[in-house]
Symmetry: C2
DNA sequence: ACCTGAACACCGTTCAAGT
DNA sequence: ACCTGAACACCGTTCAAGT
């Protein structure tokens, strides 16, 4: 076929196809040949639009970052920093949970792509506007990212086997009920996330009070 | 050579070689052929000791988990839960930082291996002993894992380019100084971790007070 | 039991050739 | 500019053969 009058591919089409392949079959299923087949072209065609396969995966990660709601940081409609941060963390985690297979790429990658930078920009700006010193605002963006990506990456409860006899008390004296976690993975992870988020925000509120007090 | 009188390989030798290869050249450098060459054998030999390459990498991750100090959870020498949790988190992160290239495997994997389970067992047991209800103790183990692995996985500061002109104010109104982060990656990440850990522990202390008060 | 080389079905990427 | 098939240097894994 050689070159068609109208391009068969576009970066967007490639990213969309890659994301759906990652979602349905996992990261390992994405090979350039397989992805190309999904798009009805041959493998090397992709290299007209991306320099490497890794860049395709980073673009997929960024497309997921782009789905995170940032409206709570609007400067026009300011909200208490704590509320904004909470809602953002929830939206952030929800976006990652919708595409769990790409999270390893997203969590690791330096986030130098547009949507990742927009996240950092929005949270930093809103925290500074709310009265946090810039250095603290940077830390808040970073530590929230740690917590949210960490929680989306590995299921904690998924680490346990649904088998009553799996954990020998001699080896693991306190894991007698651990097999029960396997049945309720999502509940356990959701509650741990909620507990951690509340703790994090409570702790930051304490620091905020100290900063405010010192400023007077 | 066929079969030698004394085995050339052992699971430990393989894991040690794999860990040092991961540390020095990264995850991508680990192929079965390359790893085997490092050990002076041929590729397929590894399959006498591990079922898949992934299992080798999981064993490497577990060997890193095994380096995390758990002595602060000793039932014989009980410490305040907050102190123990703090010291554990610091030791946990330090272990991961020594082997950053394996963290994606460690953070993602279900942690069904012995050292990973021992971590979960120790923190759960110590929290229950300290008076936390079991469900909360589970959450604490999970959320600490989220935060520590998240912080060890992706450098936040590493996501920024050391270039003053990199961030167009029209796109990212608040990232004017972001290029400065690139120069001080470790400091920025260390501070964000410290700030987050303090906030987390402060927040948990608040919850602990409420639980204690409700119990009376 | 534990190693070997050969083989299979894949990879990511390059490149000259086509329009 | 954008696609193709052929080719290169790799992969993970299986397996029969060797001791």
């Amino acid at each position: 076929m050689a070159r068609p009058r109208k391009p068969l591919l576009s970066t967007d089409r490639i990213v969309d196809a890659a994301r759906s392949l990652v979602d349905t079959e996992g990261l390992a299923a994405v090979s350039t040949r397989r992805l190309a087949a999904e798009l009805g072209v041959s493998g090397p065609s992709l290299y007209n639009h991306f320099r490497t396969k890794d860049q395709i995966l980073e673009a997929v990660a960024d497309s997921v970052s782009a789905q995170v709601d940032l409206s709570m940081f609007d400067a026009d409609d300011p909200r208490p920093w704590r509320t904004a941060l909470h809602d953002w963390a929830v939206s952030y985690r929800a976006a990652l949970r919708e595409h769990p297979n790409i999270v390893p790429v997203l969590a690791q990658g330096p986030g130098r792509r547009p949507a990742g930078l927009r996240l950092a920009d929005a949270v930093f700006g809103a925290m500074v506007d709310a009265g946090w010193p810039p250095a603290q605002a940077t830390s808040i963006g970073a530590l929230m990212r740690y917590f949210v990506t960490g929680s989306a990456l590995g299921s904690f409860a998924g680490g346990f086997v649904d088998d009553e006899t799996a954990y020998d008390p001699a080896d693991y004296p306190h894991l007698g009920q651990a097999h029960l976690l396997a049945e309720r993975q999502d509940v356990v992870d959701d509650r741990a996330f909620a507990t951690g988020l509340t703790a994090l925000l409570d702790g930051l509120a304490l620091q905020y009070e100290q900063i405010s007090a010192a400023a007077h």
